[in-house]
Symmetry: C2
Subunit: 235 residues, 2 copies
C-alpha cells in the first residue's frame, strides 16, 4: 500500500495547489494540518528544515517541500489519468516560466503587501505588483501560447498554480482595503480568474471566501500611513 500524506494548512494557496493536483489525478491522500506557528511545528521542522513552511508532501515517508516541485513529482510519478502540465514540451516550458514568475516575482510583493508593517514598504509593493500584473495581463492578451487552460477549457497546472492571483489576491485586497487587481486595468486576468473560479472543481475545493477574508482581516497588517502623515492630514 502506498502512503500519501500532505502536511498543509487550509489558508495556504500553496498547500491547496498540492491538494488540487492530487484530486485532479484521483490520488487518495491524508491531509495533516500543520500546528501553528508553522515554523515551530515539529513535523515541519523535521520534514522541511530548510524553509520551515507548508506544504510538505510525504510519499511512503519521503518528504518533498515546495509546491511547484511537488506538482512536478505528482505529475511524473502518477503518469496515468489527467496530466497536470501540458503535453507539448514548449507549452510545458512556458507554463513553468509563468509559475516561476508568480512565485518568484509576484509572491514576495504580495507578502510585503500583507505582512510588512511599514507603510512605505507596502505602498511600494503595491506599485511593484501592479507592474508585474501588467506583464501577465499583456501575455494573456496575446496568449499566443495558450498557456492558460493549456489551450483546453479545463483546470490544469496553470490554473491551480495561479489561485494565488485568481482567488487569494482578491481576498487579500478586500481585507486590506486596497484596489490592485481590478477589471478596468486588468480585464484579461480578471476575465480568466472569473472563468477559473466558475469551474465546479474550483467551487468545490477553494475555501469559502468569507472564511478566508476573516482570516486575512485578522492577520494581515493594515495599510495605515505613519503617525506624522495622519496628524498632518488632521490639521
Amino acid at each position: 500500500m502506498e502512503e500519501v500524506k500532505l502536511l498543509g494548512f487550509w489558508v495556504s494557496p500553496f498547500s491547496l495547489r498540492v491538494e488540487m493536483a492530487l484530486k485532479l489525478k484521483g490520488i487518495e491522500y491524508e491531509f495533516i494540518e500543520a500546528q501553528r506557528p508553522i515554523k515551530k511545528c515539529p513535523n515541519i521542522i523535521k520534514y522541511n528544515p530548510i524553509y520551515k513552511k507548508v506544504p510538505v508532501f510525504l510519499h511512503n515517508g519521503n518528504p518533498i517541500p515546495e509546491s511547484l516541485v511537488i506538482l512536478e513529482y505528482i505529475d511524473e510519478n502518477w503518469k496515468d489519468g489527467t496530466s497536470l502540465l501540458p503535453k507539448d514540451p514548449y507549452q510545458r516550458a512556458i507554463a513553468r516560466f509563468w509559475a516561476k514568475f508568480i512565485d518568484e516575482k509576484c509572491l514576495p510583493e504580495i507578502l510585503k503587501l500583507c505582512y510588512d508593517s511599514n507603510y512605505e514598504v507596502k505602498v511600494k509593493a503595491i506599485g511593484e505588483l501592479q507592474e508585474l500584473l501588467k506583464l501577465l495581463e499583456n501575455e494573456m492578451m496575446k496568449d499566443n501560447n495558450k498557456i492558460f487552460f493549456g489551450g483546453e477549457n479545463k483546470v490544469g497546472y496553470m490554473e491551480i498554480v495561479s489561485i494565488l492571483i485568481t482567488y487569494w489576491l482578491g481576498v487579500m485586497q478586500e481585507a486590506l482595503g486596497v484596489d490592485i487587481l481590478n477589471k478596468k486595468e486588468f480585464p484579461n486576468i480578471c476575465g480568466w480568474a472569473d472563468k477559473v473560479i466558475s469551474f465546479s472543481f474550483m467551487k468545490e475545493n477553494l475555501p469559502p471566501r468569507e472564511k478566508l477574508l476573516a482570516i486575512y482581516k485578522e492577520y494581515a497588517q493594515p495599510l495605515v500611513p505613519p503617525n506624522n502623515e495622519l496628524s498632518h492630514t488632521h490639521k
Copy 2:
C-alpha cells in the same frame, strides 16, 4: 532542419548551464553573444521582455528564458542519450529542490555581495550566504538522497546547476578579497566542487579562471567600509 540557438554571455553561469546541457546531450547549437548592456540588447528585449536577461534559448524560433526552465525543456525534448535529471522521480524532486535553493536563496545574496555598493548590505549578504551554505553543507554530509552526481560518478543536472557555487563563487570571493566558501568550514561542498571541476567535461567547458577573475575584479563592487569607519581605524 532544427534551429537551435542560445542567446548568452560567456561570463554568465546561467548561460553556461544551458551550453553544458546541450553539450552533454550532443545537441548542435549556435551561440549568439548578447550585446551589452544586456538589458538593452535588442534580441534580449525581444525574446525575454519580462526579465531582460541571458540566457534565452531559441528552438525553431520559439524563445524560452530562465536556465532551469530551459534545462527541463532540453531534457524533455531530446529524450535520447544522456538524461540530465536523475531517472527516479524522487531523486528528480530533490534535485529540483536544491536547484531552486541555489537560484532563489543563494543567488540573491551572491548578487548583493558582488554588485551592491553599500558596505552593510554586502556584509549582511556574506552572513546570509554562509548560513545558506551551511544548510547545503549539512545536506551533502548526509547525502542520503545521493543528489550529488545523482548517485553516479558523472556530470548531470546538479553539477551543471551548481557551477554558480562550485566555480563562480570562488572566483568572486577572490576578486572581492573575502573568504566565504572555504575547506575548513565547508569540507563537503569544497570536496564536491574539487571533484566536479576535475571532470574533463568541466575543464573543457568552464571559462579560464584568470579571465573570469579579471572580469569580476573590474566589475564587482569592492567591499570597502564607509569613510567614517576607515578614518576611525586610522586614528
